[in-house]
């Protein structure tokens, strides 16, 4: 009873935050609503006994990814409100019925289903070890591939974000040099892009 009430409250907040994310014109507010949504999802994981997953969700999504999102939005958005007419307004006319149809379909499918049997036994209290074991046995390959993916992404980010090609950079400069080189304009750069 308590669990169901808690679930309804948390899920309600999650849905409301997700809606607010889509409907708010203010991007910073939207991003913060997304943080609320992610927090609610973490709470749902917690209710399912997946404590590690909940903590990882908070740290990775709310604590790291969204911080960078909000950071980027704050730097890039000139005004507080992103206004002006949407050039592709007509597409929304198409999106609404399609989205509605998908929603209806999902509701029909989910309502018609009988609840699947719960996994055997209660959720293990120490699921960190279990997750670790799985990651290094059955899911070893995806795990290792992800590290290659991160390496490639890192190389790519350095490639795309490097501000100046050559001239200002001493030969064979490592990352140190680039930090030193960018130290000076650090303060003035975001200023220029404000408002």
């Amino acid at each position: 009873m308590m669990a169901r009430a808690a679930f309804l409250v948390i899920a309600g907040i999650a849905v409301a935050a997700a809606l607010a994310l889509v409907l708010r014109r203010n991007t910073v507010h939207g991003a913060l609503f997304l943080v609320v949504n992610l927090g609610c999802v973490a709470a749902l994981y917690l209710m399912l006994g997946a404590i590690f997953l909940a903590a990882a969700q908070i740290i990775v999504y709310a604590g790291a990814i969204m911080v960078l999102f909000v950071f980027a939005i704050m730097v890039l958005i000139p005004g507080k409100e992103e206004t002006g007419p949407d050039p592709r307004r007509t597409w929304r006319l198409l999106a609404a019925p399609l989205g509605g149809a998908l929603l209806l379909e999902l509701i029909l499918l989910v309502v018609g289903r009988t609840a699947a049997p719960a996994p055997t036994g209660a959720a293990p209290s120490d699921n960190v070890a279990a997750i670790g074991r799985l990651l290094f046995t059955d899911y070893l390959l995806p795990f290792e591939l992800t590290s290659v993916l991160l390496l490639a992404a890192m190389v790519g980010v350095l490639l795309l974000a490097r501000s100046r090609e050559g001239s200002a950079e001493p030969q064979g400069a490592g990352p140190e040099a680039s930090v030193r080189g960018s130290a000076k304009p650090q303060g003035s750069e975001p200023e220029a892009s404000l408002r």
Partner: protein, 469 residues
């Protein structure tokens, strides 16, 4: 371990290139590219004698005939693509050659694993490993006009498609409660609505990756702005990987339930063929023309997919090989001409036959192959695909495809006309880098050999496709 030999090899090669880049000094680091190309060639040769191995990691990774067939294709195509890109001019390619090749190899690793993935998690991770380096490579020449826009378009469409795919995969998992594709295939005959909805969403994600019609918007712009040797590779290998993954997800082990995908694939094929061919007609930029024609070719392959049979699958595999050689070759010739004339406009091809007869001949071969003229690879590819579809009873689809092949021939022959009939603006030869010439030569050989003697490859494709059903 032997089952992972190729993946480990590509991973090690990537790390080797990475380290070489770190220790490299000076402004010209293109020698790193030689390392990557040589390594890929070595791995291609290594892949040839490999034989199927038992499934690994609890069935999540299979090294069967299909996987090996696909991996050999990916490796060979990557080798040709790397050869074509070795002599790219421009500062970024000199200084950042290491990064370019690291990203290509990372993407290649993703493709190799994708061809073997029999697990939803592995499938998705491999897909992302294949795709994300491609976004970056599309924006590689970031100082040039349009490159950033192209990369961004590709990235946005690609990440939305990944999201759709992940969303679909979550439904699939919810319905079958296992991440194993074998489990999915087993549950499919029950016709669970949630499972079908999930698989349809995944199909949408695949549609973006292989650039089928309603999901194709990124293709022309990205192709036009990205470096051409990369585009040559981009236009074929990820598509091939996408098709192999499609077979794994939608065919393998499903038995009679595969017939469910016929209307989906046939509908998508119709749209893609019609749209791709018609939109290619007015194009005046060679890369955009090839981009739209590439979309049309995806449509023809979807015709083979719609046959939902072992022979259909095999014919798509054959088509993929023919498409790899034909399309890559055409893009590489465009690169050679563009490097000499400084333009990718069709007008740059005027009188190419009088200036560089061999280059023009190669281009003619590629165009004929793409158009489906007898005795080059593309003819057999189209014929076999249509034959498979007709066997499955999809006569209307065959008729439509054949009709639009005529349209395709029209725009391919316009290029040929420019090369052979119109007068050249200058009489100088088009200079050709040796490595680029080698890459073009390899493609031309592939097209001609497959056109004259397709039988061994067709047999091999039939052999590897049979166990799926």
């Amino acid at each position: 371990m032997i089952a992972f030999a190729l993946e480990i090899g590509v991973g090690a090669l990537m790390l080797l290139v990475f380290i070489a880049t770190l220790v490299a000094r000076g402004d010209d680091r293109r020698w790193v590219g030689w390392l990557a190309a040589a390594g890929t060639l070595a791995l291609t040769l290594l892949a040839l004698p490999l034989s199927p191995a038992p499934a690994q990691l609890g069935g999540a990774f299979v090294q069967d005939g299909l996987a090996l067939f696909a991996k050999r294709l990916f490796l060979a195509a990557t080798f040709i693509g790397l050869l074509g890109g070795l002599s790219l001019p421009g500062r970024p390619f000199l200084r950042r050659a290491g990064e370019y090749h690291i990203l290509v190899l990372a993407s290649l690793l993703g493709m190799l694993v994708l061809a073997s993935a029999r697990d939803l998690v592995l499938l998705f991770v491999a897909f992302e490993l294949m795709s994300i380096p491609l976004y970056i490579l599309a924006g590689f020449a970031k100082r040039e006009a349009g490159a950033v826009e192209a990369a961004l378009k590709f990235f946005l469409v690609g990440s939305v498609s990944s999201a759709v795919m992940a969303y679909g995969l979550s439904f699939v998992y919810g319905a079958v409660r296992t991440t194993s594709l074998a489990g999915v295939a087993k549950a499919m005959p029950d016709g669970d609505g949630l499972l079908i909805l999930g698989l349809l969403a995944v199909f949408g994600g695949f549609g973006f990756k292989i650039a089928a019609f309603p999901f194709h918007m990124w293709v022309p712009d990205t192709y036009e702005a990205a470096p051409t040797p990369f585009v040559a590779w981009l236009s074929v290998t990820p598509k091939a990987a996408g098709f192999v993954a499609l077979f794994r997800v939608y065919f393998e082990g499903m038995g009679t339930a595969v017939s469910f995908w016929v209307p989906v694939a046939a509908g998508l094929a119709t749209l893609t063929i019609v749209a791709g061919n018609l939109m290619a007609l007015p194009q005046q930029n060679a890369k955009r023309l090839l981009a739209y024609s590439g979309i049309a070719h995806i449509g023809y392959m979807l015709v083979g997919f719609a046959a939902t049979s072992a022979s259909g699958t095999a014919m798509v595999l054959f088509y993929l090989v023919a498409y790899v050689f034909g399309n890559m070759g055409a893009f590489l010739v465009v690169e050679a001409v563009a490097r000499s004339e400084g333009s990718e406009h069709l007008a740059a091809f005027r009188g190419l036959a009088q200036r560089s007869p061999l280059l023009a001949l190669a281009m003619l071969l590629f165009l004929l192959s793409l158009g489906g003229i007898p005795f080059v690879a593309g003819f057999w590819a189209k014929l076999y695909v249509f034959w498979a579809a007709a066997t499955a009873g999809l006569y209307w689809l065959v008729l439509l495809g054949a009709l639009l092949t005529v349209v395709a021939l029209f725009y391919y022959l316009i290029v040929a006309k420019r090369m052979y009939i119109e007068a050249p603006p200058a009489t100088t030869r088009v200079p050709l880098e040796p490595m680029l010439a080698l890459a073009v030569l390899l493609c031309a050989l592939g097209v001609v050999i497959l056109g004259v003697y397709p039988k061994p490859l067709v047999m091999a494709a039939l052999r590897v496709a049979a166990p799926l059903f």
